[in-house]
């Protein structure tokens, strides 16, 4: 799975993207968030309040109950602020 992070999510996690093998049991964005939170303090800080985050699956806006799989691109970011 390809993961992308933007704005303060990227800053807290300390990287802009990564390839991750996630357990097959993870099939939704919510489950993925729970999984990522346990990867370290930066992740815990970034995902502490998921309601502050938005996500996209394969470059389309997605809700946290959206399904995800090993070949998906999943991005996490704060609500957009315009240009």
């Amino acid at each position: 799975m390809k993961l992308l992070y933007f704005a303060w999510v990227r800053q807290k996690i300390g990287r802009s993207e990564e390839e991750l093998s996630v357990p097959a049991s993870i099939t939704t964005v919510s489950a993925l968030v729970d999984h990522l939170r346990r990867r370290g303090p930066g992740y815990e800080a970034a995902f502490a309040r998921p309601e502050l985050l938005r996500c996209a699956v394969n470059q389309e806006h997605a809700r946290f109950d959206a399904r995800v799989g090993p070949n998906d691109e999943v991005a996490f970011f704060p609500p957009v602020t315009g240009g």
């Binding site: 704005a7 303060w8 996209a56 470059q59 991005a75 704060p78 957009v80 602020t81 315009g82 240009g83």
Partner: protein, 148 residues
Amino acid sequence: MSEIRIQREDFDPGAEIAGLQATAEDVGAIASFIGIVRADDKMQAMTLDHYPGFAEREIAAHVSEARARWPVLAVRVVHRVGRLVPGDRIVFVGVASSHRGAAFAAAEFLMDYLKTRAPFWKLEERENSSTWVEARDSDDESVKRWRQ
């Protein structure tokens, strides 16, 4: 024809307008808007972050909506990302049409969208701090008037 570019480098407004005129026949009007970074609240610089691919698609969807609403011949959107300082050009929107009404309306519609809901994130630098700008509900007011 529509052209959407997200780039770090500056743009030449005259060249963008000339390009718009050259892309369509029967152009009778070109409305253009250029946004420039302001030094509000002693802001020294802002850095725009974006999601490549996703941002272009989101903007393209709104350009399509503008084209569905007004008889537009050509649209060009150029948005800069990266670190910008007050006085820097940040955005160009140009709309070519046969008549000025559609050109003005579509350009304003696109700018209201870009300023409020386009997929960018802004980090503002001041003397002693850098802060990410939070989404503001008040921005929605300028967008609401198009939803009728």
